[in-house]
């Protein structure tokens, strides 16, 4: 289900992230037609001894595919106030 960024924000629950990068894979696949983490609009920074750092790029339109494809509940829609 595609949503618009005007209505929703995406919250990150970093403690749930497992670093699987499924969010990056679906993002680049839907937006660029290829599997390419480096082109994803969501960035994951590896951190060995802790929680991976997740940030959204400016280009992200909050389509929400990453929320749907996260198998761990680390991303969540929030309706904008």
């Amino acid at each position: 289900m595609m949503r618009t960024g005007q209505e929703h924000a995406i919250d990150v629950l970093p403690e749930r992230c497992t670093g699987c990068r499924r969010c990056q894979l679906i993002c680049s696949f839907l937006h660029d037609g290829e599997f390419n983490p480096s082109r994803a609009r969501i960035a994951i920074e590896d951190r060995d001894e802790g929680v991976d750092q997740i940030t959204f790029m400016e280009e992200c339109d909050r389509c929400g595919a990453c929320v749907t494809y996260c198998a761990y509940g680390a991303l969540r829609f929030r309706r904008k106030e």
């Binding site: 497992t18 699987c20 894979l25 037609g33 761990y72």
Partner: protein, 614 residues
Amino acid sequence: MGELYGFAGKILKVNLTTGEARSEPLEERLVEKFIGGMGLAGWLAYRLIEREVEPLSPSNALVFSAGSLAGTLAPASSRVHIVTRSPNSGFIAYTNAGHSAALMLKYAGFDCLILTGRAQKPVYLKVTDDDVEICDAQHLWGRDTWESTDLLRKEVASHWVDVIGPAAENLVNYAIILCSKRSSYNKTGAGTVMASKNLKAIVVKGTKGIKVADPDRFKKLTDEFTRGIVADPEVRLYRAYGGSMSSRPGFSVDEFASRVSERPYACPSCPLACKHLINLKDGPYKGLRYRISHIGALVGHNGPGGPENWDELIKLVEEENASGIEATVTATILDYLVKCYQSGVIGESEIGYIPKKGGEAMRRLIAQTVKREGIGATAAGGMAALIQRFGKDSEKYLYHEKWVGRPLTLANEVSSYIIGSLTNPRGAKAEFAHIPIRGGNTKGLTVEEIRGFCVSLGLKNEEVGRVCRGLDGFNVGRIVKWVEDYSFAYASMGFCSREPIMRHTNLEKLSQMYTAATGIDMSPAKLLEAGERVFNVFKAFNVKMGATRLDDLPSRGATLDPDRPLVIAGKAYGTLNQILDDYYDERGWTQDGVPSKAKLAALGLEDVAADLGL
């Protein structure tokens, strides 16, 4: 040739003697014949490694190959396989990891990396998309894997790092490669081969994309596969404990969850997350914190060495990974030393101390082995070196399959796990005898389930009749052949063998995913035949290196005499040798375990038959 979908499309060849790096196109005909990943690595290694090539000589090739679907969203498809000649066994070594720099290599444009030669001084290989550099690594040599990874990351920023430790540098025969502190290539000494090339590390960053031939269909198929995995009732178990935990005393799952594990983590594309960030909350090693894969298996792998509890195991595994030494062989060797001492085969003076089991004892043996001090100088050569020094009779205290230790007993069951572990070309690798139903082992499956599996592979009625006949409703030797062919196809696509992954797909779905990704028309029958072809290449590698039927039997330390009738729970299964006879017959091999000329020809491997002198 048009675009090769699903693959990056190139092979990177690096000769460390000359420093030459060149790229070659990946031929579609090879992909079609050997699937990709493990299958492709096996074929490339078979062609490159001649019988006179010693494992630690510059001529040995270390071949990395990312699975056909690796790098895509296909669930748990990130496995990269290494194939080389094992310094530990002299036979084929193959091992896989889920977070390897060689996965990143696919995003840099290369499906495979072939390393040959030997650098004059320690180096590391740096790949940034098309830019390939051989860099000085003298400042890293001698440092452990954790520290080396940290230092490399400072030098190369966001590259992924595959690195060896001091065990490999000192040519301990069973050294591992650690991947960005998250995964490892274990068993059979791939790390030792890397060290013999004076190659400390491989660091890669790739920013290219992987396209699939039919995006909509690929997404639909992989979405369905993912939904099956996520809904699996055992997902919770794997995330909490890494899988079915051992019931070994001292290793309670509740304790693991409450004071050992902080949280699970996953390999790329995996919706399961069976790995863990360890964080000991209290006890003697309080604050010990690192990432480790499949801790449940490590309880078993280290079992023969007898670590007493979670604290000792966690401390032990940290040291194993830091020095880059393989757990199962180390634990099996300590078990052997204790038994030899207790039975008077080896004296205290030969070992230097009275051997005993436990975490501290394991760590002492590791330290000695890595430095090649005292008994460690012999242990570094592996089990074969110990037998050579302490005599053939001592082998009865050592259980191995093709010189790889295995903690499971052979005495309690006749199953696909037990037989498939023996027939596996690497040895002691039961996961390729996983039937993709429930727990994977034939033990516990119903006759209907096994028959259903045979039908799903498209076996003819006469073949189903031959396989599904026997004491438990099937012939274990014959079913293992078919499971292996299926598993070799599955693994070559890059998929992980954890049960909650593999039981949510089947041959037809695999063929559909392969075709949607690559555009190559890969029917189920063609895919299964390719799996069989790959298996025969792996076996041919061993035959080329001198393997015989005896190498498919357990070592003398086995509790299973190959000519003793197997009677388990009141059922008489015949002997292990009879089971092996059936297995070879089903494979179309000779009774010495050699693929026949006719079988190789039927698989389009006439050149292999000629190479073997058939």
